[in-house]
């Protein structure tokens, strides 16, 4: 899967989890940029990413994510 595909699929996950089709999923996107991105929604987001991409992260990996770019790096390593 190339980066374009990853971002495309990831965007659909964001839109579904946040119920907002207008979210622009860029590498710099972070929790502070999106309404409702609290710790619970973050976990729901990670669980949805795992399901859609059919991968599993470790807790340590999830704990230190700063932005979408870092999440994509994790996905890239797993798909």
């Amino acid at each position: 899967m190339d980066d374009a595909q990853i971002y495309s699929l990831l965007a659909s996950v964001f839109h579904e989890v946040f119920d907002d089709e207008t979210i622009d999923v860029t590498p710099q996107l972070a929790a502070k940029d999106v309404d409702g991105w609290d710790s619970l929604t973050h976990i729901r987001l990670i669980l949805s990413v795992e399901k859609v991409f059919k991968i599993k992260f470790t807790n340590s990996q999830i704990a230190n994510l700063e932005n979408v770019g870092e999440l994509v790096a994790l996905i890239r390593a797993r798909v």
Binding site: D19, L40, S48, I62
Partner: protein, 643 residues
């Protein structure tokens, strides 16, 4: 992971446009309560449940009416993280007709909230309080081999739970819902964990046993989370990663399932559990079609794989009846033919006496289920329909959305389990009278009078995307044609049987018009469902020697489309008149008015019930149905269409 449970397989899959429909409902506010209930009727995942719960929440704070959902206030007290569960509870409750309001105090304030009179929980006067406690946050100390210490630990927990319950009862009178504890999946010793006092396993077993004992019959309610966890597998239920991450008590995979189980208990508390089970017959209670296969042909024998699957359905129905659920039958069959297996088949487990209302006729099932409900003086929302046919399921879901209609798997082996897993008949109390309820219905197996037609069946049929294909007889399909001709008894005008050589003759005779008809719809390909043979008779006329159809496609105007096709070919062949004949048998009473309905005029009748009919090709305009039509292979022979 068994998808029956993790994907709630008895519920239909959500449509592609779920989000769009949800948004439309939220903004229009028209009959919002019913639309929310409809949207909740699908197998929603955590994200979809969350979205639906948000819409419900917004509607409530805006003061919009959510009738006919019945309000219920549930306080949620937990020593684990429940934020992901809360929306699932609200959305799942809507599925069961309940408008759920959740009172949720701050994290881990269980005792404070229960015992303080003016706490958030007690002050809100909840209808029920759910104690969602995880064993990991309870004071459970291992005391390996020390029975006395183990007993003290168990009593400590039980005492704690009783104190919580007493606090609620004293301060707000809500019903307490206690959960059994799901023990850890991995043992310390192995098999000894269960036997030795003071292991985590045996401590939890003892707690669950005692808890069950004092809750049962007390007016409080037990939610058997241990049973649920065992059903899906403790190893699947527990998710160590999620517990470590945020003290989530169980895997997110089971949040929708847990939500549905809590919703069932709440619905049961409110008296909204289902009370009656309507059973289809063919391919539901037995394998095969009684009208075509006869008593000897249907499959219910012990030792036959298909028979065993259907026996399991009958056994479950009998067990349900024994606990007070009323049984009814709704089948597309001639009444006397449908009753035969109950009366005469030695392997039938169900008897006519077990069935309170027996509707076997050729009308649509929605109208019949409406009549059954009225006859039983039950609301439509008390009914469940078990039917193997997805077209029937779709019809009833569309026209009678309050009736629960479980999806069924492809293999009938799964039917009984799926019905049981759906939990429509959840009960929180049990009384001796329940056992007698099914017997209160006098005049067993009676028929209910049909009143007005329910809803727009035509619109439903149009939504099925039907495609009909016409071909003449050909060698590749001869075996199936032979089978249909010799097996069909009900929708069969002349019951004329053919041998293989005779069909070969018809295939090759340029004067004989033959037709094999296929029908596909949104649920799949039904295969060959009708056969017609027309033979030359007086000049310019065709005698319809054979016209038969599978009962599975009744009520869809297939016969009208077949007539249109026959007329096309008749015109091309210069035929001016079609002549039909109806030869009554024990089994084909169904088609006595087939030709009348198609616009033929009756031209003769004899003493034995045989009727003769005619239709002039010129000017004949049979009704059409919303189907795509394909006509192929008519290159030569009678009625060949221009190239």
């Amino acid at each position: 992971m068994n998808p029956l449970y993790s994907e709630l397989r008895w519920l239909p899959r959500p449509p592609q446009d779920f989000s769009t429909r949800l948004r439309a409902a939220a903004s229009s506010r028209d009959s919002l309560g019913s639309e929310i209930r409809s949207l909740a009727s699908f197998a929603l995942d955590v994200n979809q449940l969350t979205k639906l719960a948000k819409v419900i929440g917004r509607a409530c704070s805006d003061g919009a009416s959510l009738d006919p959902l019945v309000p219920f206030r549930l306080a949620l007290l937990s020593n684990s993280t429940v934020e992901m569960i809360v929306p699932a509870l609200i959305a799942s409750a809507a599925r069961h007709g309940v408008l759920l309001e959740i009172i949720q105090p701050s994290y881990d304030q269980v005792a404070q909230e229960a015992l303080t009179p003016e706490s958030k929980v007690n002050g809100s006067k909840p209808d029920a309080v759910l104690f969602a406690l995880d064993y990991r946050a309870l004071p459970l100390k291992l005391s390996l081999g020390d029975a006395a210490a183990a007993s003290a630990t168990v009593q400590g927990v039980i005492g704690y739970l009783q104190m919580l319950g007493d606090g609620i009862k004293a301060n707000s009178h809500g019903v307490c819902i206690f959960q059994t504890l799901a023990p850890p999946a991995e043992p310390l010793f192995g098999s000894l964990d269960r036997a030795l006092p003071g292991t985590m396993r045996s401590l939890i077993d003892a707690i669950n046993r005692e808890l069950t004992g004092y809750v049962f019959g007390s007016g409080d309610v037990l939610l058997d989370v241990e049973g649920l966890a065992e059903t899906v597998g403790l190893a699947n239920w527990h998710d160590q990663q999620l517990w470590n991450l945020g003290k989530f008590s169980f895997s997110d995979e089971f949040v929708p399932l847990y939500g549905d189980h809590v919703a069932r208990s709440i619905a049961a508390i409110r008296g909204k559990s289902k009370k009656a089970l309507v059973l289809d017959l063919d391919n539901t209670l037995w394998g095969g079609v009684i009208g075509d296969d006869g008593l000897e042909g249907i499959k219910i024998a012990e030792g036959d794989a298909l028979g065993e699957a259907h026996r399991a359905v009958q056994r479950l129905a009998l067990d349900l009846r024994q606990r007070g659920i009323v049984l009814a039958v709704s089948s597309k069959n001639t009444d006397s033919v449908a009753r035969e297996p109950f009366q005469k088949h030695p392997e039938m487990l169900l008897k006519l006496d077990d069935i309170a209302v027996f509707q076997a006729n050729w009308n649509d099932k929605a109208t019949n289920i409406q009549a059954i409900a009225e006859e039983l003086s039950l609301g439509l929302d008390a009914m469940v329909l078990l039917d193997d046919n997805p077209v029937e399921r779709g019809l009833v879901r569309r026209l009678l959305p309050q009736v629960a209609v479980p999806e069924l798997p492809e293999d009938p082996s799964g039917y009984a389990r799926t019905l049981a897993a759906a939990g429509y008949f959840e009960a929180v109390t049990f009384a001796a009278e329940d056992l007698k309820r099914a017997g209160y219905y006098q005049d067993n197996a009676r028929r209910a009078n049909l009143r007005t037609q329910v809803g727009d069946v035509d619109a439903y049929l149009a939504s099925l995307d039907m495609a009909i294909t016409f071909q003449p007889f050909d060698p590749m399909n001869r075996a199936r044609i032979l089978q249909l001709i010799n097996k069909s008894n009900q929708y069969n005008l002349t019951t004329r049987r053919y041998t293989d050589p005779e069909i070969l003759d018809a295939e090759n005779d340029p004067e004989v018009f033959t037709l094999q008809v296929r029908l596909a719809d949104i649920f799949g390909d039904n295969g060959m469902i009708s056969v017609v043979i027309c033979r030359p008779s007086e000049p310019g006329a065709w005698d319809i020697d054979t016209w038969l159809m599978s009962c599975r496609v009744l009520g869809r105007k297939v016969e009208h489309m077949v007539l249109r096709e026959i007329l096309e070919h008749a015109r091309t062949a210069g035929i001016g008149k079609l002549r039909g004949i109806y030869k009554p048998t024990e089994r084909n009473q169904l088609v006595v008015d087939h030709y009348a309905r198609l616009g033929f005029s009756k031209v003769g009748e004899d003493g034995t019930g045989i009727t003769r009919w005619e239709l002039l090709v010129e000017g004949a305009m049979p009704e059409s149905a919303p189907m795509k039509v394909a006509s192929q292979g008519f290159a030569t022979g009678a009625g060949a269409l221009p190239a």
